[in-house]
């Protein structure tokens, strides 16, 4: 049977213990095209892809290259010519880059199982040359930055010489420069007739690279359209089923006295001589390329890894943060950049995740008062519009955006004066992103000071009152909201 | 060996386990004996592990001791130890646990008794007290260990001779008192009719007594142990423990050292087999043993 489609998925259904994650979904991808799969957090995009890749079983039929896919596991999918970049990074930390890339298909001497280490490295080098990636293949994976890990995963997916590459949020951890690089790779793959399924929450990317767009909503198939027939607003309309503004415009807030001021803060090898201040009602954005030391900077401020020199003043008083509990006591909150690694308590419930940093306020003669917990958590769920069936749901069951909101709620429960947000909307869908932005704006209006690190230019530009630009650990300059644009920020960074 | 430099004999002693009350008296006697004989004693603990004991014997051989006393963890594994010592022409004395005939041929002396005898003596006395009939429950030590195997076999050999006696229950309490209590508690709950509890050692017998006492059944049931430890003697005195079998640790320890020193000096032995027989303890003769322990304890100080 001839068909113009490389991949045809039909009537795909998947239940997670009674809850339908996918209901009769279809997806048809043509050869040599980039096909965007869009939808809010939890719409079922990753689930659909995991079914295609053989990681989940599920109802329905899948035809690939005209024949029915048997779906016995990732191995089979890879053999048939499907490879996948997963939403979650999957490094094997103590193995080398080369070993990670060729895991499961190491070049070996015949059938002996004896790994040809030389060829392993050469093959990796060749791959990196083609893709123009500069990473040492013999480095241990754990020594790579997150961005480089992401690049390695991209390289791995490409190296399978697959006919179809699934990319599930491949750009959530890399900066514009690397995104451009990825797009170059995608274009050249496309020329070779490779099809790509592209999942992202970043609209501009989708319109830049994709030919067709399929939209899912709450596990339902909504439709497929050529990208050129859609614009951002109509796409969002399809995704959320109602109209929302993609970019939330920050409301003006009254900027008052200084909350935190940092003078000549340094930590050896990470950042040096950083000075700035944040005021009540102000959002200070910290911009910079990946690996510029921003996370380290705020970790020092929060007492996770104290600075080696410099001073900090809170409400005008000199303070030293020796540990996060010092910071918390001083009414500072921190939402970290990596939900899984440093944020969520995965085996615990939504409720427990929310209360963990401010338990004292719930104590009643030493007991955690269940009623207060319930009441305050419910408030947060409502306020942040967190989608969870109940408070006892395990956080790992929530979609990324909702997880992020839970973590935000954790700190809001402490009613902090200063809220530090590191990549607050990484991997969060448009709707949730707008909500988080709205929330930040409201917090500022409430008189909170907000320190925000973000690698997303639109976010930095849209949300910050002032922008601090950091490059390779040094403070390069500061821009006011009015004067800042993307070009300007890069200029400052590289000056 | 460095012992030779100051003219002192060095005796190596490969002991099965330090954590055992009865053996500890034997060790003390050996230490005291060595002092008396002006010999240095190197005593090592195999922690109930045959292969560890073999290692230790090899180490003693390497150190060039003048004689080795072995109290085997398990007599089935004593042959390579004897071989190792013999290769270096070091005299070997086996104490307390009697190895098989082919190994006995190679060793220079054996000090102790026949292990199985304790089981037979114990059971014979129980049989006598029960008039040759009744239900017996056997509480065994740590499974697979020498004393457990031999003592249990001794018990059963005797029971076989009495057609009206039978083993109704057999279970392990690992030589431990706590496990003895637990096992006995469970047996009591089973409602089985038992006339005697025969344990591989006194500790378990004491455990059984404790459980029986709290169930109010102590008076109807005979309890027998082996070892005759001071703790056990108190229970014999009070009538709770009906039978135990005494094996003289001090006699064995002293004799082992004396024999080893003799051999080290190259002297001839009158008899290769130095018998220290088991002795039966019941309420009638218990005071004698209480005195004996007192003496041992005083000596120790």
């Amino acid at each position: 049977m001839k068909t113009e489609y490389l991949l045809e998925m039909e009537n795909i259904t998947k239940e997670f213990s009674g809850v339908k994650a996918l209901n009769n979904v279809q997806l048809k991808v043509k050869k040599g095209t980039v096909h965007a799969l869009m939808g809010e957090n939890g719409a079922g995009k990753s689930t659909l892809m995991k079914i295609l890749f053989g990681m989940y079983r599920g109802g329905g039929t899948i035809r690939f290259n005209g024949e029915e896919l048997k779906r016995t596991g990732p191995k089979d999918a890879l053999k048939k010519g499907i490879s996948m970049i997963h939403q979650e990074l999957n490094p094997v930390p103590f193995m080398t880059v080369a070993e990670n890339i060729f895991l499961g298909r190491e070049p070996s001497y015949g059938k002996t199982g004896w790994v040809n280490k030389k060829k392993l490295i050469e093959d990796t080098q060749r791959l990196f040359e083609i893709l123009n990636i500069r990473i040492d293949p013999t480095k241990k994976m754990k020594d790579l930055s997150i961005a480089n890990m992401q690049l390695v995963e991209i390289a791995t997916a490409v190296s399978h010489h697959a006919d179809l590459i699934i990319m599930d949020e491949p750009t959530s951890a890399i900066t514009e420069k690397e995104v451009d690089h990825l797009f170059e790779i995608i274009r050249s793959l496309k020329k070779k007739g490779v099809a790509i399924i592209y999942i992202s929450h970043k609209m501009d990317e989708v319109f830049e690279i994709c030919d067709e767009i399929t939209v899912l909503r709450d596990g339902q198939y909504i439709g497929t359209k050529p990208a050129r027939e859609l614009n951002q607003d109509s796409l969002i309309q399809m995704m959320v089923g109602r109209e929302i503004k993609q970019v939330f415009h920050k409301e003006k807030a009254e900027i008052k006295e200084v909350v935190l001021s940092v003078k000549n803060l340094s930590r050896e090898g990470k950042f040096n001589n950083v000075s700035f201040e944040v005021r009540k009602g102000e959002i200070l954005g910290i911009a910079g390329l990946m690996g510029s030391g921003r996370t380290e900077l705020i970790e020092s401020i929060f007492g996770i890894d104290p600075p080696t020199s410099g001073e900090m003043y809170l409400h005008g008083e000199k303070i030293r943060m020796k540990s996060p509990s010092d910071a918390i006591r001083n009414k500072i909150g921190l939402v970290t950049e990596d939900r899984k690694l440093t944020g969520a308590f995965l085996p615990l419930s939504v409720k427990e995740n929310m209360i963990m940093s401010g338990l004292d306020q719930f104590l009643n003669f030493g007991y955690v008062n269940g009623k207060t917990v319930k009441r305050k958590c419910k408030e947060q769920v409502k306020k942040l519009n967190i989608k969870t069936p109940n408070l006892n749901q395990l956080i790992m069951n929530l979609s990324g955006g909702n997880q992020q909101k839970v973590l935000l709620a954790r700190w809001l429960l402490n009613d902090p004066d200063l809220l530090i947000l590191d990549e607050p909307t990484r991997g969060v869908d448009v709707g949730a992103k707008a909500e988080i932005h709205k929330l930040m704006s409201e917090l500022a209006q409430d008189g909170k000071a907000i320190l925000m690190v973000s690698s997303e230019m639109p976010e930095i530009l849209g949300m910050s009152d002032r922008i601090l630009v950091i490059h390779e650990g040094s403070q390069k300059g500061e821009l006011r909201r009015e004067e800042a644009d993307q070009k300007k920020i890069l200029e400052v960074a590289y000056q | 060996a460095d012992g030779k430099d100051d003219g002192k004999m060095v005796i190596g002693a490969a002991m099965p386990v330090f954590d055992d009350k009865w053996l500890s008296y034997m060790y003390d006697a050996m230490k005291k004996g060595a002092k008396g004989q002006k010999a240095e004693l190197k005593m090592v603990d195999a922690k109930n592990d045959s292969s560890k004991q073999l290692e230790q014997v090899e180490k003693l051989v390497i150190q060039g001791v003048d004689a080795i006393v072995i109290c085997p963890v398990d007599t089935s594994a004593v042959k390579p130890m004897v071989d190792a010592a013999k290769q270096a022409d070091i005299p070997v004395v086996v104490v307390n646990r009697q190895p098989s005939a082919d190994v006995l041929e190679k060793v220079d002396a054996y000090v102790g008794s026949e292990s199985i005898k304790s089981g037979t003596m114990q059971m014979e006395k129980v049989a006598e007290l029960l008039d040759g009939k009744g239900h017996v429950a056997i509480m065994t030590g740590e499974l697979g260990h020498e004393a457990q195997v031999k003592r249990t076999k001794g018990n059963k050999d005797v029971i076989k001779k009495h057609p009206d006696m039978k083993v109704v229950r057999q279970g392990t309490a690992e030589y431990q008192r706590a496990e003895g209590i637990q096992l006995m508690e469970n047996w009591i709950q089973s409602g089985d009719n038992m006339d005697a509890i025969v344990a591989n050692n006194d500790e378990m017998a004491i455990g059984a007594i404790k459980a029986l006492k709290s169930a109010g059944k102590l008076d109807d049931i005979l309890v027998a142990g082996i070892d005759g430890t001071p703790d056990a003697l108190e229970y014999v005195q009070s009538g709770a423990l009906d039978v135990t079998v005494f094996q003289d640790p001090v006699g064995q320890g002293e004799k082992a050292i004396v024999t080893a020193v003799k051999l080290a000096k190259g002297e001839k032995l009158e008899d290769k087999m130095v018998w220290i027989p088991y002795e039966l303890i019941t309420k009638e003769n218990v005071e004698k043993y209480v005195e004996r322990w007192k003496g041992y304890d005083e000596n120790k100080g």
Binding site: P324, L348, G370, N397 | D20, K210
Partner: protein, 334 residues
């Protein structure tokens, strides 16, 4: 290794409690109380297999026997929830036992001296376990393995390898006394169980214990003093082991350096059978108590049925694996 998967499977269950109908509630019920149901099944099985099993005396008997390991297992549950392990419990029992016994001779010291010393020694050893593994950055497996060896050695050294008997009656009450016909160890077991359950599920300390096991780094960022908390958890485990050791010593009316061999494994097994996950963040005290009871029922039932010691071991191994297997299978399906 399996946890994420297992969690993923468990998660989907407790889900949407509000909107599920009765049909969905049955597997949920089974999943929540799975191990309890397995326990009931085992009890039913034993009751059928041996007529002596199901009567109040024997059941009291089983619970009493379980009390000792059960209390140890509660401390171990805290430890395992933090992603740790404690291999030292068995040896610690011996150490506490000989030290306490040596101060419990009639007329020597008032009762509180051996009691305080006993729990004190336990807690102190736990403190060392915790400090070495928290501050020293060495795996708790090794830290407590070292303690296991060292504490046994200390117990032997202290007692010169001999049991220490002749204990005062007031001390002995701990192990063999009863209140209103209920053996004292059972009372302690239930009381400590209740206390520990409240501590684990309703206090800051308990929440922090889960947090550390769930994500240590996140816990640090939430302002939890992880090192100090871990030290406290191991100290608590040592303390509970001390209580158990005191009661055991009283039960056998002697301090013995050879006591408690392999108890650590039974305690860990009780916790894990009861649903505590070795990968951290999951576990409950009632679960552990059921886990201990399962082991106790097995021991008791097999003894009652007069199964030979050899077969007892084989069956015990097989049944424990099967119980955990059923428990995890059921989660998978539900």
């Amino acid at each position: 290794m399996k946890t994420e998967e297992t969690i993923a499977k468990k998660q989907t269950i407790s889900h949407d409690r509000d909107r599920t109908g009765w049909k969905e509630k049955i597997p949920e019920l089974f999943s929540r109380y799975g191990i309890f149901l397995i326990f009931l099944a085992l009890v039913a099985l034993m009751s059928v297999l041996t007529p002596h099993f199901f009567n109040v005396y024997n059941l009291i008997n089983v619970v009493k026997q379980v009390s000792f390991i059960g209390i140890v297992a509660m401390g171990v549950t805290f430890v395992i929830i933090t992603k740790g392990i404690d291999l030292s419990s068995g040896s610690l029992i011996a150490l506490v036992s000989v030290i306490a016994a040596s101060f419990a001779h009639p007329g020597d010291y008032p009762l509180f001296v051996p009691l305080l010393l006993g729990v004190g020694v336990g807690a102190f050893a736990g403190l060392i376990n915790g400090t070495v593994s928290a501050k020293g950055m060495i795996p708790p497996f090794i830290a407590t393995l070292g303690m296991m060896t060292a504490a046994r050695g200390l117990a032997l050294l202290y007692s010169d390898g001999r049991p220490i008997g002749n204990l005062s009656d007031s001390f002995l009450f701990l192990g063999s006394g009863d209140l209103f016909g209920i053996p004292f160890p059972i009372i302690v077991f239930l009381f400590v169980g209740l206390l520990m359950h409240l501590l684990l599920s309703n206090t800051k300390f308990g929440k922090h214990t889960y947090a550390i096991g769930g994500n240590e780094q996140a816990a640090r960022i939430c302002g939890i003093n992880v090192d100090r908390h871990l030290i406290l958890v191991y100290t608590l485990a040592g303390f509970l082991t001390g209580i158990s050791a005191l009661m055991l010593t009283a039960r056998i009316s002697a301090g013995q350096p050879s006591m408690g061999v392999m108890y650590e494994l039974d305690a860990i097994a009780a916790a894990v059978i009861g649903g505590t996950s070795l990968t951290g963040g999951i576990g409950t005290i009632p679960g552990t108590m059921i886990g201990a009871l399962i082991i106790g029922v097995l021991n008791n039932g097999l003894d009652l049925m007069n199964v030979s010691s050899y077969w007892q071991q084989i069956l015990k191994g097989a049944i424990i694996v099967t119980a955990v297997l059923i428990d995890s299978r059921k989660n998978k399906k539900a």
